[in-house]
């Protein structure tokens, strides 16, 4: 057993409480420990970050990867939009992604002589989130004042696709060339099911509300991802696409940088690493029989991280999120919408939220994503009246606190959760790098179950998952 790992610190943001109000982190409490992810799965790849080299490793890997891509079509008189998304800034403190963006800019300028290089950073449902990151990481200065956040309600542009007209954000496409700068972290597996993960931002953070609503309301849980492919494959987007540059992620950190002008080739590599390494981690989390989930990370409740996995995926870890034969995970927006007026699913086959989560302690998480479904289905204690009040002022979470109770301190909240749930197993979603902060009984369980899970994924599940996605190793 190790000491707990250092969690990602609270961040000043309009979407969360003031950092100084976060008095205690859950990992600081007695009887908390940590497990290194390499102890669970020794075959996890070696990472370049975190490492002793720090951000230099990211710049070095980015420069090396960018050398391999053809930039000859970008001329000095052209304009280039480097397209970013909020998600990258939530990984490992955000600096690695910011460094990738800076490096792309610098290399493109040096290689092509083009100076009109802009950053267009898309968002999820917190429309000023990337504005905050641009300031935090000094990207406005790095991009000579040409860095802006863009939101899905901004002015749109019609894009003709093979399934009809869809809509992008005009400012995303207002350059001669676009560079898709993203990462392979799996994040919302419950939504994208690891299908075309690398393409998804074209239907989401670069897209208007009409397109995003098509994804989440019109196509169904397993056809939804086609929205992004349709836009990316459109003649309009293809006429502007230069290349993609990705941070390659594993649950234990950043493995490298992948650059390719063929997004689908890159996507196949992303699919394999996503299924293999994140698939193991999610399958292992699905083995947890009972626990308290502690949310303690600067992101909305669904997006808080533990072992590279977000809480939304843990809420659905009672089913195999990667198995496309299963239409609906326990949590997706489609699933949520299919609960009737009596609070039961409209179809008996819809799985319940992960019953292993006996209670949730919401120590620190942001607003800006509709999360009432979680408090409706999982007993939840929110720490601090200020945080409760913030949720009561969030148009997306006006029902969140209807189903949650408030505790004055982290210590009181956890004591209540221990007594009310009867379990001593705790998993902390606090973004700890390279490992997972848990209570001792849960550490023992994870270490015991991991070898069998690893074998099951390698032998049985991974071949099926890749076959379903048409990816050959």
């Amino acid at each position: 057993m190790h000491s707990p790992l250092v969690p990602i610190p609270p961040r000043a943001s309009q979407y969360g409480i003031e950092p100084e109000l976060v008095k205690t982190r859950v990992s600081e409490l007695p009887r908390m420990t940590s497990v290194l992810l390499k102890e669970l799965f020794p075959d996890l790849p070696e990472v370049i970050y975190p490492s002793s080299e720090g951000l230099d490793a990211i710049r070095k890997a980015s420069v090396a990867a960018l050398q391999k891509v053809d930039m000859s079509k970008i001329k000095p008189e052209h304009s280039v939009n480097i397209l970013a998304s909020h998600h990258g800034f939530t990984l490992l403190g955000g600096e690695p992604y910011a460094e990738l963006l800076r490096t792309i800019r610098d290399v493109v300028e040096a290689r092509t002589g083009c100076h009109n290089i802009r950053l267009r950073a898309g968002v999820g449902l917190r429309f000023r989130e990337t504005e905050e990151y641009i300031k935090r990481y000094g990207l406005d200065k790095d991009f000579n004042g040409k860095a802006i956040g863009v939101a899905p309600i901004d002015q749109g542009i019609a894009i003709e696709t093979e399934i009809g007209t869809l809509y992008g954000i005009k400012k995303v496409y207002d350059a001669d060339w676009i560079i898709h700068a993203h990462n392979s972290d799996v994040r919302e597996v419950h939504f994208h099911r690891q299908v075309d993960r690398a393409v998804k931002p074209f239907g989401m953070s670069y897209a208007r509300i009409e397109t995003r609503s098509t994804y989440h309301q019109n196509l169904g849980p397993r056809a939804a991802n086609f929205t992004a492919r349709a836009i990316f494959d459109s003649p309009f987007v293809q006429s502007k696409f230069a290349f993609a540059a990705f941070l390659t992620m594993a649950p234990n950190g950043i493995v490298g940088v992948d650059v390719d002008s063929n997004l689908y080739a890159l996507n196949d590599r992303v699919t394999e690493i996503g299924c293999r390494y994140y698939g193991k981690m999610m399958t292992l989390l699905g083995e947890i029989d009972e626990c308290i989930a502690a949310l303690d990370f600067p992101a909305p409740a669904v997006y808080v991280f533990s072992a590279g996995v977000i809480y939304a995926n843990f809420a659905g870890a009672n089913t195999d999120l990667y198995d496309l034969e299963l239409p609906l995970p326990a949590y997706t927006w489609y699933t949520e919408s299919f609960y009737g007026k009596l609070g039961r699913p409209l179809l008996d086959e819809i799985p319940p939220m992960n019953k292993a989560i006996k209670m949730t302690v919401h120590n620190y998480a942001w607003t800006g994503y509709p999360c009432a479904f979680f408090t409706e289905h999982i007993p939840t204690v929110v720490v601090g009246q200020e945080q409760a009040e913030l949720f009561n002022r969030d148009p997306q979470n006006l029902n969140y606190m209807k189903h949650a109770v408030v505790s004055e301190s982290t210590e009181d909240a956890m004591e209540f959760a221990y007594k009310a749930s009867g379990t001593r197993k705790v998993i902390v979603f606090d973004g700890a790098m390279g490992g997972i902060n848990v209570s001792e009984p849960l550490a023992e369980l994870l270490l015991k179950k991991a070898p069998e899970v690893s074998e099951r994924v390698e032998e049985t599940l991974l071949p099926k998952w890749l076959r379903q996605r048409g990816v050959r190793l």
């Binding site: 449902l125 429309f127 000023r128 939101a151 899905p152 309600i153 901004d154 002015q155 019609a158 093979e162 399934i163 009809g164 007209t165 869809l166 809509y167 099911r193 690891q194 299908v195 075309d196 208007r208 509300i209 009409e210 995003r212 609503s213 098509t214 989440h216 309301q217 019109n218 196509l219 169904g220 849980p221 397993r222 056809a223 991802n225 086609f226 492919r229 496309l324 239409p327 609906l328 949520e336 919408s337 299919f338 009737g340 007026k341 009596l342 039961r344 409209l346 179809l347 994503y369 509709p370 009432a372 479904f373 002022r393 148009p395 997306q396 006006l398 029902n399 379903q468 996605r469 048409g470």
Partner: protein, 206 residues
């Protein structure tokens, strides 16, 4: 139902009259007067779209002294008509179409059957699309289309651009072309059809 507990307030000395707040307001509650944004307090649904997109940070959201409860009375309409409209748009009447406000298809259908003719009017009457402001535009456009209504876009506005494809309309050649890449079109059609036909849990709010 939506509880509207916030109100947008413009700091007039910061407003430069760019009209972005007017273009993004989902209930058309903002007009320009003398090149200044003016909020119709009675119409504002507290969604904060204007506050989040104002380039001058001239708009803030303040707590209303008295919250406003926004809801359309489903029982005021013959439920058979609601069922017919929802089914035509391929929704179960009890299906949630707005996750933020927990608005169900039946309430939007009831609003249409009582005369609402645009997404903006539906947002004003039910609160739908005044939470995240992103995900529920297509259900509104589908339900309006099912009622035979072609809504007009607000002049110059960015509130919405158009109805898009549903899974039932994906061309066969597209389905065939991408069948091996993990897109389960026909299987999702089968699932969604069963949702549409699933038994109701409560016939109406009453």
């Amino acid at each position: 139902m939506k509880v509207v507990n916030l109100l947008a307030v413009v700091e007039q000395d910061k407003c430069r009259g760019c009209r972005i707040c007017e273009f993004v307001c989902p209930v058309v509650a903002i007009k320009m007067e003398n090149r200044m944004a003016v909020i119709d307090n009675g119409r504002c649904r507290g969604c904060a779209a204007c506050e989040q997109r104002c380039p001058e940070y001239a708009i803030s959201m303040v707590k209303r002294e008295q919250p406003v409860f926004v809801k359309v009375d489903v029982s005021a309409v013959d439920y058979t008509q609601i069922e017919e409209l929802c089914t035509k748009a391929k929704f179960n009447p009890e299906q949630l179409i707005c996750y933020c406000t927990a608005t169900r298809a039946e309430e939007v259908a009831a609003a249409i059957l009582q005369g609402a003719e645009s997404p903006e009017e539906l947002s004003y009457l039910t609160g739908v699309r005044t939470g995240c402001k992103v995900e529920c535009i297509q259900p509104l456009l589908r339900l309006l289309a099912a009622a035979g209504i072609e809504p007009r876009r607000p002049k110059d506005g960015w509130q919405w651009y158009g109805k898009t494809v549903t899974v039932w309309e994906i061309p066969e050649e597209v389905k065939q072309k991408y069948a091996s890449r993990g897109f389960y079109f026909d299987e999702d059609i089968e699932l969604l059809n069963r949702i549409v036909e699933a038994p109701l849990q409560g016939r109406s709010d009453t």
